[in-house]
Symmetry: C2
Amino acid sequence: MTQMLDVLRGLRSITATPGRGCTRIAYTHYEDQAHDYVWERLRDVPGLRRVHDAAGNMFVVPEAPVTAGHPHVLIGSHLDTVIEGGWLDGSLGVVAAMHVLSQRVGLGADVSLVVFRDEEGVRFNTGLFGSKVFAGRCQPTDLDATDGDGVRVRDVVPDPAGCRDYRPPVDPSVFLECHIEQGARLVTREKRVGMVTAIVGIRRFALIGTGSANHAGTTDMLRREDALVPVAEIVGRLPTLVEGIEDAVITCGRLSVQPGAPNVIPGRVTAIVEMRAQDESTLDTIEQRLRGLVDQARGSRAAEVELQPSVVVPSAPTDPEVQACLEAVLATRSIPFDRLASMAGHDTQQAGQRCAAGMFFIPSIDGVSHNPAEDSRYEDVELAGDIMLAWAEACLARCS
Amino acid sequence: MTQMLDVLRGLRSITATPGRGCTRIAYTHYEDQAHDYVWERLRDVPGLRRVHDAAGNMFVVPEAPVTAGHPHVLIGSHLDTVIEGGWLDGSLGVVAAMHVLSQRVGLGADVSLVVFRDEEGVRFNTGLFGSKVFAGRCQPTDLDATDGDGVRVRDVVPDPAGCRDYRPPVDPSVFLECHIEQGARLVTREKRVGMVTAIVGIRRFALIGTGSANHAGTTDMLRREDALVPVAEIVGRLPTLVEGIEDAVITCGRLSVQPGAPNVIPGRVTAIVEMRAQDESTLDTIEQRLRGLVDQARGSRAAEVELQPSVVVPSAPTDPEVQACLEAVLATRSIPFDRLASMAGHDTQQAGQRCAAGMFFIPSIDGVSHNPAEDSRYEDVELAGDIMLAWAEACLARCS
């Protein structure tokens, strides 16, 4: 068993749900324990020290001070998980960074590791919190987000004020991350690496139907203002809105009906519609099509239908220079790869606000993720570590 | 103010939600209080006594024993309500029966009044419970129905065993009920009375979509098994299934999506579809059309879709002889009326299992019901009392 697999298995055992995948919710004992485990495993590597920032993000940095202006590569990911998630999501990127650090020992104070907090956003219904703080973009509303028990983000971070007025422990020139794909494109295309060209933009809308709750027997069909029928018509046609568009998806994952009795006509319906695409113009196209459906429903039905934007995450292209470094590494080794957009959000998109950033994927077996069955081939896990090392060195060489 | 309106106003004041309509949930203090109020108001009428049956239904019967085989008319309705319901639903029928009793005083021991328990079915998610017991059709499952606090029907009725092995306090030859229409057909057609030819049959189905919950970003559109899309397609087309069919409605009033997160593809969806029509062959037609839609969705989508029957209430025609008596009464008085099916369930359909039964409606202003705004014109309320009296007399004459 290699070092990387050994560490990954150690992390897998830190879970609130033994036997049912990894459950390390952000800012719990389990996440803390995983952070500590990573530092324990790096203790023998000479010349490193551990520091924490205001958000509780963990950095492992050179003991020698990093000279300002000198090329410096930051590598990392996250260790929090969804509920009953997989063992590689986040962990792979951290362990690959550990591999780089342990190989770079003595080669100069030019590489650091970061473990971001609360990437998944399960607990506070947010996401990418730690990396958002690192990017210097933390808003008061981010700190006020509340979990199911009424605990706020500001109650669990080490230094809420410092999250807003942020000073990073290192000032990198480049941030690099590797991650499992979580989809099946690489497997389908028989590629070993996916070079991430952009992280998708996300637009989320509340599609709201407003009608009139009434007796489902005595209110005849012509006198109804059924809030559900027009919303259902639209939801049933969502897949048509992204037909023929590559790397774009649209989903309604939540739909609530009020009052919700079998014998009462729905008076109010809220459906959450989420679209993802790799650039803003594609998102514009899909949004326009959705608005077309809404206008159509509005014209043909008695109930009101409206679309309220809720979440907007702009698409985030990765840095072309950093991509070029990766491409050179892959070409030298003749590794079959493909360019693709990441369909999920990642810390890279936040880190890219502070410095040049890049990312690659290794294949997910069967495309499964956020699930105890999540897995990748061992040789791909090891390859990830090797590529990260070569990529970091290529970036340092290019920056120098 | 007439006697009937006075009693109706007295009943209106018995509510758990003063200022927000009538809330007298079955087998609560409020329902009991309404029963007692009715008896209080009848105390001065000589020759009457009150009895309760095993379900707690209240009967006001002649003090003199009713001779078996002699014509006897039972008149009544219910006093329980939905949450924040109207003041006439149920109460009108009880108060009209009180009017008949007070007018018939001394005319012979041939009329009784009944107030059925738990017509609305809000508390135990059932309906027509008291009249079902009276019909001799109470099943063990009816007694095991549970409210939100875990209380069972058998815990609240006076005599659970007696509900199954039922002996009615009177053995009527005819049951008569009047009620507000709760719809807008009479208002639209400018009729003062609706003669109920049948009470609609109801078929309720669980429309279940089973797919695979997965990441809404990384699972591309072609690899999805989205449980919501096919169900939404069907729900959006439900109104087309009853197009061109008179007195038929179809509704989806409840729809739940699992796991229900905006960024997770729905893995399981359950929609409750309810259809109502005045006869079984019409229900067959609508059900067939619904199954056609389900088959279509099954063929075109990756997720499984199935239809599971849950509730079946057969349509219940009223008695033609009892209808004829009503028609004679209305013709003599030149009251404009229409024949129609009741689109809601009523105690009459249960009572009709024990004896001949009939029912009429008066108009509901704007068709509003199950709502604090529920109302009817005062002259229509009073007309209901007069018609009930004449109708009871006509039935007695016909039976003799």
